[in-house]
């Protein structure tokens, strides 16, 4: 996984390597094309489901933010909802009290969430394991209670209402069919995806992967582990805050649930379902989660919870790399079958 094609030393290239690498490059391009083609096609084919599609995009971004922290850097957190919720409330409050411009509000929300990530991260990232997990839980719970109590600011459990959001760039209005919101969310997701892609393939990303695998080894080669974790934690917070802002702008509403532990739990389930450390795992996880929810919830809400539970167990037990591994398992089967038929 770590060995990307350009990791090969420049020194002695074998004759075969060139075509193999080019082939891999094409495969990689197709791998990228499929998810984004679906994002685009969905816009034209969704019909009444477009708002649902926007929600999926937002949750993909949210899960992607968790992938950086949990997947790559191995920061086992259940506090990701704090950043999502802060982003959502910041965007909402900004729209009400400062300016109805969505871009400004979005940037403000990102800044506030990042700052919160930086401060809380600096306070808790020297701990690990269960201690860290408990601290993240405590932070979300405190925020939730605060948002619940501070009715005059947040609307408490009625949620934050009365947002007005101007058209994006003064042109694209957030309409009731949700076209603008969908495209906006897709563009924001794409930008964050590109950023994440660069990060995870950079030396910085590699050092995060190293920290996850063996923190002691990284310290022994001179890695300032705390600073690296703080950097990715802040970045992850900024991304989650961005997702929260999208959610606020798309629905012109912020409910108390954005800060709930359940929200943290759901995004974790999505990421693990789809697969960590792939970036696209977040896409698959969020999409499948919503798809299955939509299908099964019609039968009964309890049935839905049962299905999610079973899916999660099956994934963790049989697909170490999440649902994205289904492709790999299929590929392996295909080659095995092919080799067998070739042999005859």
């Amino acid at each position: 996984m770590a060995a990307v094609s350009d990791d090969k030393p420049a020194a002695p290239p074998t004759t075969n390597l060139g075509t193999g690498a080019r082939y891999g490059w094409w495969l990689g391009l197709i791998g990228h094309a499929i998810p984004w083609a679906i994002v685009v096609l969905f816009f034209y084919m969704a019909g009444g489901y477009l708002s649902l599609g926007t929600q999926v995009l937002i949750w993909i971004l949210f899960a992607l933010s968790l992938d950086l922290a949990l997947g790559y850097a191995g920061i086992v957190t259940l506090g990701q909802a704090a950043f999502f919720g802060i982003g959502a409330y910041a965007a909402g409050l900004f729209a009400i009290h400062v300016s109805p411009d969505p871009i400004l509000g979005h940037l403000a929300a990102i800044a506030v969430a990042a700052l919160f990530g930086l401060i809380t991260g600096a306070m808790i990232l020297h701990t690990t394991g269960v201690t860290f997990l408990m601290l993240t839980l405590a932070i979300v719970s405190m925020l939730f209670e605060y948002a619940n109590q501070a009715r005059s600011l947040t609307g408490g459990d009625d949620g934050l209402q009365g947002m007005t959001v101007n058209p994006i760039f003064g042109v694209f209005e957030f309409n009731i069919f949700g076209e603008t919101a969908y495209v906006y969310a897709a563009v924001v997701l794409f930008i964050w995806f590109l950023i994440s892609w660069r990060i995870v393939h950079s030396p910085f990303g590699r050092s995060l992967d190293g920290i996850r695998q063996n923190t002691r080894r990284m310290r022994a080669i001179g890695t300032p582990v705390w600073w690296r974790l703080l950097a990715v934690y802040t970045l992850s917070a900024a991304m989650a805050g961005s997702a929260g802002a999208l959610s606020a702008h798309a629905t012109r509403f912020v409910g108390l649930s954005v800060l709930s532990l359940l929200t943290s739990g759901i995004v974790t389930v999505m990421l693990i379902l789809g697969g960590t450390r792939r970036l696209y795992g977040a896409f698959v996880g969020a999409a499948v989660y919503y798809l299955v929810q939509d299908e099964t919830a019609r039968i009964s809400p309890y049935f839905w919870e049962l299905v999610v539970g079973l899916m999660l167990i099956a994934t963790v037990l049989f697909l170490e790399g999440g649902l994205l591994d289904l492709g790999r398992v299929g590929q392996r089967l295909f080659w095995r079958l092919r080799r067998r038929t070739d042999g005859r």
Binding site: S202, S207, R216, A220, G222
Partner: protein, 251 residues
Amino acid sequence: MNAPVALSVRGLCKSFGALVVAQSIDVDLVPGARVGLIGPNGAGKTTFVNLLTGFLHPDAGTISLGGLSIEMMPPEKRVHHGLARTHQINTLLSEFCVRDNVAVAIAEREKFAWRMMRYRPQWRACLEEAQARLTEMGIGHIGDRIVRELPYGQQRLLEIAIALALKPRVLLLDEPAAGVPSAEAHHIHDVLVRLPSDIAILIIEHDMDVIFRFAREIIVLVQGRVLRRAAPAEIAVDPEVRAVYLGRTVI
């Protein structure tokens, strides 16, 4: 204090509760030193390395690296000042390939490991250096292999390769051949003999043949206390050393 000392330890003390594992240890390593550290199991040899590298904090004592006081520094800072180690139990990035394990260390040494962009030429140079270092150690052919899948002996060599890639002035080797079948261990010993002569090296090793061949000086540690510090020939005939240590392993 103008003697060229690479590493100087004075009065180093450490206890785990009632268990004393370092009792006022004094050690000096000059550049190019080859010092063997021996002692029975539980004598505190690994603890000594952990204290020097900052993974444990001493109760008392000073450590200076090339004249710089390092006892308050975290491990990563000490590495940047030229102190590297290997581990008694493999401590590797087991999901990465062999070359990446070395390359990541070089990236930290060259201080660009935090970069998220504009790193391509450096990273390429880094991979080339990593490959060259592996080849030099005779494991160039396994550069692409995932560490987890390697035999233990090759993982031991990788431990050494990573430490060397940090270009240390002082290198602490904690039982480099531990757990390796004796048929393979000679490969590791060959590497030890060829280590750069300007590095000051402290080696913990149980195989007395190896340590007598490699070290020019031997420190005997017993219950956290330096029992003797002398040339190998003297250690071999020292009655007290034989009584507490050699007598049990060398017949």
